[in-house]
């Protein structure tokens, strides 16, 4: 097992290197970090900035320089606001992490419950409704759902009810002057979490339903029923535990993708997470932020993919990792 993990991590290093070259060249070729100074009256400003950022040197030289300091742990500072990159990424990662944590927890609970219901009552009215809803969830652009929720919940609902304030907020994670885990925090978190959860619930509940149906049709479930176990015991202990194996691995892979995948959600709700850092870095050609961003999000993807494989091996004794 340990050898498997080490080998997989070692194999991912060349992929990361190629990815960093692709993104470095791509970002350098498409954006000009001095663009925001274009309207300066002093022509020397742009020249000074170009020299400060080393933009007068060829791309290869700049990449090698970046790579050598990155591998030494010196991640440098943002081209734009000169904030230390480690600090910037740590701060935005924390914001994204909160969204991912709540989004995934809620999605998993709902998706598993819906999956169990739909599989045990296949083709019932509830199953048909859930199936239809999951099709809608998968067909809808998440950002549109977010906009609709803001319009309805934050604006239309209080107006219709004659309330003075809105039940749920649509900007940031805290009101000014507030911090920590409190009601204000939850009122900020509810809409972005709902927005990111809709698609995840739709997709996970489909997997859970079909994997549960597979399991419930197998012989050992019939045996469990035949020896007189209660319905709940059969469904939860014998059915669910086995049906969760494929879902857990899919969950792990999906969670890894979320750290870079919340760009629109964070943009709509003005949350200073990884997605917003990416958009600002891309707009300003800020390779110093862009590349560590890529490395961190890629590390999450690789780690969670690895976790999926390891979990699969642990949960299903028939699978052996080699």
């Amino acid at each position: 097992m340990l050898a498997f993990v080490i080998r997989r991590i070692a194999l991912s290093i060349p992929v990361l290197l190629v990815a960093s070259v692709v993104v470095f060249v791509g970002v350098s070729a498409t954006s000009d970090p001095t663009a925001r100074l274009r309207f300066s009256r002093d022509p020397g400003v742009i020249r000074a900035e170009t020299e400060r950022l080393g933009l007068d040197k060829p791309v290869t030289t700049r990449y090698v320089k970046w790579l050598s300091s990155f591998s030494k742990g010196e991640w440098g500072q943002s081209f734009v606001d000169r904030e230390a990159v480690t600090k910037k990424i740590r701060r935005s990662l924390w914001t994204t992490l909160q969204l991912v944590f709540f989004g995934v927890t809620i999605s998993a609970l709902i998706a598993i419950a819906v999956g169990i219901y739909s599989a045990t009552r296949q083709y019932s009215l509830g199953d048909v409704v859930f199936t239809g809803a999951s099709f809608v969830g998968l067909s809808m652009p998440p950002f549109w759902f977010g906009l609709i929720m803001i319009d309805l919940v934050t604006f239309k609902l209080p107006r219709a009810m004659g309330w003075d304030s809105t039940p749920l907020y649509s900007i940031g994670l805290h009101s000014s002057g507030q911090s920590g885990f409190n009601l204000d925090y939850l009122r900020h978190l509810a809409l972005p979490v709902a927005t990111l959860a809709v698609q995840i619930i739709a997709s996970w509940s489909r997997y859970q339903r079909s994997s549960m149906l597979d399991v419930m049709g197998s012989d050992y479930i019939r045996t469990a029923k035949a020896k007189g176990l209660s319905r709940w015991r059969v469904v939860l202990k014998h059915g669910l535990r086995n049906a969760l194996i494929p879902l857990v691995t899919i969950m792990a892979v999906d969670i890894g993708l979320l750290f870079a995948g919340l760009v629109v959600t964070e943009q709509i709700f003005a949350l200073p997470g990884m997605g917003r850092v990416f958009i600002r870095a891309l707009e300003n050609g800020d390779t110093n932020v862009m590349l560590p961003w890529l490395m961190v999000t890629a590390a999450f993807v690789i780690a969670f993919n690895l976790l999926a494989d390891v979990l699969y091996g642990l949960l299903d004794p028939r699978i052996r990792l080699a």
């Binding site: 991912s12 992929v15 990361l16 190629v18 990815a19 692709v22 993104v23 791509g26 970002v27 070729a29 498409t30 954006s31 099709f135 809608v136 998968l138 067909s139 809808m140 652009p141 998440p142 950002f143 549109w144 906009l147 609709i148 803001i150 319009d151 934050t154 604006f155 239309k156 339903r209 079909s210 149906l213 993708l257 870079a260 995948g261 760009v263 629109v264 943009q267 990416f278 958009i279 891309l282 890529l294 999000t297 890629a298 993807v301 690789i302 993919n305």
Partner: protein, 314 residues
């Protein structure tokens, strides 16, 4: 114990319906195509979805005839007077802050969004099928390159590639079609590669090879017809994914740019309407998009069941 519902004729697989059973005596056997059509028509939701899609495509094709206004961006005295009119008999979907009729714009935007979805599906399917077939049949260098590409795109989030490409090549719809196809062919190639890998070992392939058919002939005359189903289902789903991806990119200003108009750019333009009296501006383009993608996905589901009766059990 749950009670089984009484068995109905509709529940029987189409192969066992009475007229088909009868048809074994005397009538000519049905072709694969006929059987496929029967199974598809059995899937009521998919038939409804296909009808909706036909209507949507017709409305896009005949947009200049159906639209009450032309898609001009010029501001006239009349258009100024027509600012932010809520939906009415005259303006079905209302007007925006410079008085443009939204129904007109949704029809014309539909032309861009629908043709973009179709073109991306077509282009990426042809490319993906070719490369996937080569990789699955021959293995070797093509296969290695394809698999390394897969590793790379796992690590680089697709939004990075799409946004960078849009910044480099611009936001005309044709450009966006190429950019999206470049991203989507790979998933199709992987599917086709897997199918070719498993088909390669079948006896009929061996027989074709033994009788002296060239590799290309074996691949495209003998193997490909057997996997048309999964490829077509995948292509259908790409139509929906492409339309949603385009709207997301356009919403972030990384997609189609004005003067071209798609449902995504309409949502981008309407961003500030959220919470205001003209909030209808975000509802209609989104609903058009949702209806289209929903119909595409239901159609894909129906096609899957029709091609593969085995999958119907869930």
């Amino acid at each position: 114990m749950t009670q089984l519902p009484p068995l109905q004729m509709d529940d029987l697989p189409p192969e066992l319906t009475p007229d088909l059973i009868e048809s074994t005596g005397g009538a000519p056997p049905r072709s694969q195509g006929r059987l496929f059509l029967r199974r598809f028509l059995h899937h009521r939701v998919a038939v409804a979805a296909a009808t909706v899609l036909l209507l949507l495509f017709a409305s896009a094709i005949f947009a200049p005839l159906l639209a009450p206004e032309s898609l001009s961006t010029s501001i006239t005295a009349e258009s100024i007077l027509n600012q932010n009119k809520p939906p009415s008999a005259e303006h079905w979907f209302g007007t925006d802050e410079i008085g443009r009729d939204q129904f007109t714009r949704i029809l014309f935007a539909g032309r861009v969004s629908l043709s973009l979805g179709l073109s991306v599906a077509l282009l990426s399917t042809v490319l993906g099928t070719l490369i996937g077939a080569l990789a699955g049949y021959f293995g070797g260098v093509v296969d290695q390159v394809l698999m390394r590409f897969t590793d790379l795109w796992l690590v680089i989030p697709s939004i990075v590639v799409l946004a960078l490409a849009q910044k480099r090549f611009g936001g005309r719809p044709v450009t966006i079609v190429f950019i999206l196809s470049f991203l989507f062919w790979q998933s199709i190639a992987r599917v086709v590669r897997g199918l070719f890998l498993s088909l390669k070992e079948k006896e009929y392939v061996e027989a074709a090879r033994a009788s002296g058919a060239s590799s290309l002939r074996v691949m495209f005359r003998h193997m490909l017809p057997n996997i048309v189903g999964p490829i077509l289902v995948n292509a259908t789903l790409v139509v929906g994914t492409a339309i949603v991806t385009e709207s997301t990119l356009s919403f972030l200003a990384f997609g189609i740019r004005p003067p071209d108009v798609s449902w995504g750019t309409m949502l981008f333009d309407a961003k500030s309407a959220v919470g205001n009296s003209n909030a209808y501006l975000i509802y209609f383009p989104g609903l058009a998009l949702l209806l289209t993608v929903l119909a595409v996905n239901f159609l894909g589901d129906g096609l899957r069941d029709a091609f593969d009766p085995q999958s119907q059990k869930h």
